[in-house]
Symmetry: C2
Subunit: 634 residues, 2 copies
């Protein structure tokens, strides 16, 4: 029984106390990034300061702020302001809101984010997908054409719900929920919404007056072709010219990243050109509609307008929570990607609180849902922003616009806004990513396509739910059918590896070594029992009659991270069944959590401490030894 | 760079084709027990025979049947008949059905099970929990006291739905769904229903005429004490005497298992004694109610009575599916436990088809939901049954009863039935198991108690859903927060094990080896990234300033059974972040599925083949080598 490591003992120590394991589990679940490490060891005033800096990040970066940094932030802030004006108006139109609300939403929320936000690159603003989804949900219960005031108030209330929801998630450190929106789902959702938003723009592009309230491809195309007599070629021509110009600047940016400002300024150019055209050429008489009157003045207070009528509340809550989830997933994913480019880290839960606060405060000042949109953040990053101060600059720019320039934009032709939205959306259909998914992981591709086609052909929330459901199903299948494999010895080594992966390995037909997947618990306990028995049957069928039958089964538990009662019972059943067939069961390298439960449930006593080994090699040697001894006894 | 196994290469072979992996995944998901192996290699008539024997198990065992076996089955069959009559009547009362339907349900279904069933010990019959649950659901839409005929027809329809549902699950091999009802849930559910069923029996025991249609503890106790003036002491006394007798025989069986027939016959004794008492002592005048008229004659055909009215259908389907799931979980669990005692295996999917067929056919002949109840099966097993033939004997016994003896049982006092049910239920509250769960696995205990208290204080379906929800949440937490641990070298060996589990291990502060849990995918990808970075931070905080900082991070992937796109991206982000800090990342022993995706997504190219090792030891040696080389270069 000599082995390279047989002198080393398995640790059968006393299981850890319940309080200790509970504390460690809670920590892993809610504080995996150990957020309070910075001030754990501080004391007195130092601690207060660190805590304040942690919860209100502006205290962290403002003391080190200087003119040098401000120069960069000023430039970036001005650039994103020129983008925020046309985008704000466009997305507000998409949400069927008065356009001015889009501008309001770029004034208050960025100020809040400057104080509480921890991402250096994120630029705050409204987003297309959430605007449309919100409109779709609220319009079913309170159509804006029937009562615009009610509709607007419900949208504010929905933003408040979003804010409360996001803040709560962040405070309770439930960022884990956002993790269940997978990358594939988000990719599919972005693509699907981009398609339907582009189709929605056909209304503006063709100058239609009648349209559908549905968002799916079939209904929208039907509405477009049913109202063929309303098509205006002048509007379409102007739209196509704008679109070509916008896509052209985008192409320039792709070729020469240094010229990013060309594409960042392009929407503003389109709007200004459109306004001039509308003012001087009187385009209204050709059927080209404009935005219409825009009030001068800052955000009116809307806290008294929040509507919690129980008739609408379920829809408002639904819209608030779904858009809140999407906004979080999008915002945090974007903040993370840019942070990684700069080798920094983002605390997702802290960002959630910042997003939540900005939506809560926003809803009191006539703003609707805001998050960190991709296009604006990318422009902000490329403009060289250094701190969240760029958002404050944008807020000031927006304030000046609201105070002095708002009426100017009332001449903006709707077709210009449609072209801006379309151009932004075309960039969100990520063909390359679809193809990459198809190549690497077919199931991820299905999850992505379920979302894409669900959003495009059914509705946004169904597409999302379908895709999340598929992803959860996959997660459950992962755990319900863990991989098991047969191990063989790699020649001239003490290593045992998967016989399928390493075809050169050698095995002894009388000793079957299996590696079990992880974790073993109720949803897969039956499967694992059946699978172990099938491995034995297969092994006995394959070995030639003289080769003998399986006499030792070694279960490698190295990969089993945890086990529950049903799992332990399954192991006990396997042990009992095999014992009756005179097959010996040996366990290899149970991890700490598994070992603790095996000890507590007295399974270790049943199987015997001498049947638990630290390595496959040890167990195989011991088995061979006992096989030879049995033989020599005959 | 010498190592015990460094000459052995990691397998970077071509990934398997999509068709091959898909086929293997489908096989693992739906056919883990390889059910068709018996006739895979057969040909011609032999194959037809084997297929027939597989799908209709009676062809498998009947040819070997003989008189010797029949003797045992006859005895067992008679014993379970004496149990089936009182249980059938009792549970039918529990389901608010005419008592004769309980007898019908023990006639047709056992015949079907004899043909299609594959368990040798299972005895078919109605069960208390499902009877009550069905009554609770259907009575909300069609109360039996308003229209008993409609209620009965809906119960038959519900049994048909159950049958179709169970057959479909079995044919589609979706036994995996039943696996999601964990052992802890079932234990809690059994205990909870036992409590509320016992409380329900207070109605019969105290001879109440008015009662509540609710099942929860609070409402039932309220109803019992509100109708205090209806209490009959004669009834209560008789009930207590019966109960003491029944519990006494149960105690005898526990002490002397050979005398199992005493407790098996006891309910019949109680019924016969009760009938005699009612007949001769005219107990009715003391307020003790009896079962009332029972028709002579076999099951009437009920196929024309099935009611698919859309008004009731949702409730019928809900009741059919929920009771179907519970009946399956209970029946299969019981069949499995007895099979394991005899070292046999049960094909869960085949049993589902047998249960489904017996419920479908049953619903055509005035039977309601049947499955394999624990008490009857235990008696059957103890009586020494050899084949499903015992069920046929019971069916014949029941036929004779229906044809000739039914009217006799009309004298059975309700209090006798209540005592029988109570006695059966008291045995289902498994205190020891509760305590065992509390000791071994606190979360399993919570799942169990959620079901127990949910069923007892809210309602049966909510208790069940609550518990299944908790169990799913746990499953998702398992995968969202996989265990990671730091590895250290066990002295005098080449083994690397968890530093927490094996406190004696040695580590090099410049080389951090981490073992990752499994699988890595979207729900835990963020967590794993954060966790790896935290390990590095902790390591750097702990090591003394002179000790140097982490320069190599080794990720042991042996336990990672699969990975998805988001997971790969997370690894790529970790690689990028660490690369920027000049920390080298090395992967150890990726399993076949993980390796395939790493190759397809070009991650292997990015990190370099030379950074992937077969063992932790190899990677550590290579890292130490490069550390020493770097040092000597200075």
């Amino acid at each position: 029984m000599a082995g390279s490591s047989s002198q080393i003992q398995v640790n059968f120590g006393e299981p850890r106390s319940f309080a200790k394991t509970l504390r460690s589990h809670c920590k892993e679940t809610f504080f995996p990034d150990d957020p309070f490490r910075q001030f754990k060891n501080e004391k007195g005033r130092g601690k207060v300061k660190k805590v304040l800096q942690y919860f209100v990040p502006i205290f962290d970066w403002l003391p080190q702020y200087n003119l040098q940094k401000f120069k960069f932030d000023l430039l970036a802030g001005i650039t994103i302001t020129t983008l925020a004006i046309p985008q704000g108006i466009s997305y507000a139109k998409l949400a069927e809101l008065p356009p001015i609300i889009g501008l309001y939403s770029s004034f208050i929320p960025p100020i809040i984010y400057t104080i509480f936000g921890s991402s250096k690159h994120l630029a705050v603003g409204t987003v297309a997908a959430c605007s449309l989804l919100m409109a779709e949900t609220i319009a079913t219960i309170a159509p804006p054409k029937d009562n615009l005031t009610l509709y607007v108030h419900l949208i504010f209330t929905s933003a408040l719900i979003t804010g409360i929801f996001q803040t709560t998630l962040g405070v309770l450190r439930l960022g884990i929920l956002v993790d269940f929106l997978s990358h594939s789902t988000i990719t599919g959702f972005m693509g699907g919404t981009a398609v339907i938003i582009c189709l929605q723009q056909l209304k503006g592009l063709l100058g239609l007056k009648h349209f559908t309230s549905h968002t799916d491809v079939v209904n929208v195309l039907k509405a477009v072709f049913k109202n063929k007599d309303e098509w205006k070629w002048q509007s379409a021509l102007l739209g196509v010219i704008f679109l070509i110009f916008l896509q052209g600047t985008r192409y320039v940016r792709q070729k020469k990243p240094k010229l990013f400002w060309v594409s960042a300024m392009a929407p503003m150019v389109v709007v200004v050109f459109g306004c001039l055209l509308a003012y001087f050429a009187k385009v209204e008489k050709y059927g080209i509609q404009t935005v219409g009157h825009l009030h001068k003045g800052l955000n009116p207070i809307s806290i008294q307008d929040l509507n919690f009528d129980s008739k609408y509340l379920p829809y408002v809550i639904k819209s608030g929570i779904i858009t809140g989830m999407i906004a979080l997933a999008e915002g945090i994913a974007i903040a993370r990607s840019f942070a990684i480019m700069e080798n920094q880290q983002i605390d997702g839960n802290k960002e959630m609180v910042a997003f939540g606060l900005m939506n809560i405060v926003g809803s009191f000042f006539s703003c609707y849902l805001t998050t960190g949109p991709f296009s604006k953040t990318a422009v902000n990053y490329n403009s060289g922003c250094k701190t969240p101060m760029a958002n404050l600059v944008m807020a000031i720019g927006m304030m000046l616009t609201l105070l002095f320039l708002a009426p100017v934009f009332s001449y903006t032709p709707l077709v210009a806004l449609s072209a801006i939205i379309m151009s932004a959306m075309l960039g969100l259909i990520n063909y390359e990513e679809f193809f990459h998914l198809l190549k690497v992981d077919k199931f991820d591709f299905c999850i992505c396509m379920a979302c894409f086609f669900g959003v495009a052909f059914i509705s946004m929330d169904y597409g999302l739910i379908l895709s999340v459901g598929l992803a959860l199903l996959r997660a459950l299948l992962y755990v319900a059918r863990p991989a098991t494999c047969k191990l063989g010895k790699i020649p001239d080594s003490v290593l045992y590896r998967d016989a399928e992966q390493y075809p050169g390995v050698t095995t002894d037909p009388r000793i079957l070594a299996l590696q079990l997947g992880s974790p073993i618990y109720y949803a897969n306990a039956n499967y694992i029992r059946e699978r172990i028995l099938r491995w034995i049957r297969d092994e006995e069928d394959n070995s030639n009659p003289e080769g003998g039958v399986v006499e030792h089964v070694l279960l490698d538990l190295s990969g089993v991270s945890s086990i529950d009662m049903t799992g332990i019972e399954s192991l006990a059943e396997v042990y009992k069944l095999l014992d009756s067939k005179r097959i010996k069961v040996k366990l290899i390298n149970p991890r700490i959590e598994v070992m603790e439960k095996l000890i507590r449930s007295h399974f270790v006593e049943k199987i015997g401490k001498e049947s638990i080994f630290l390595t496959v090699q040890d167990a195989v040697e011991e088995s061979s030894f006992s096989l030879n001894r049995d033989k020599s006894n005959f």
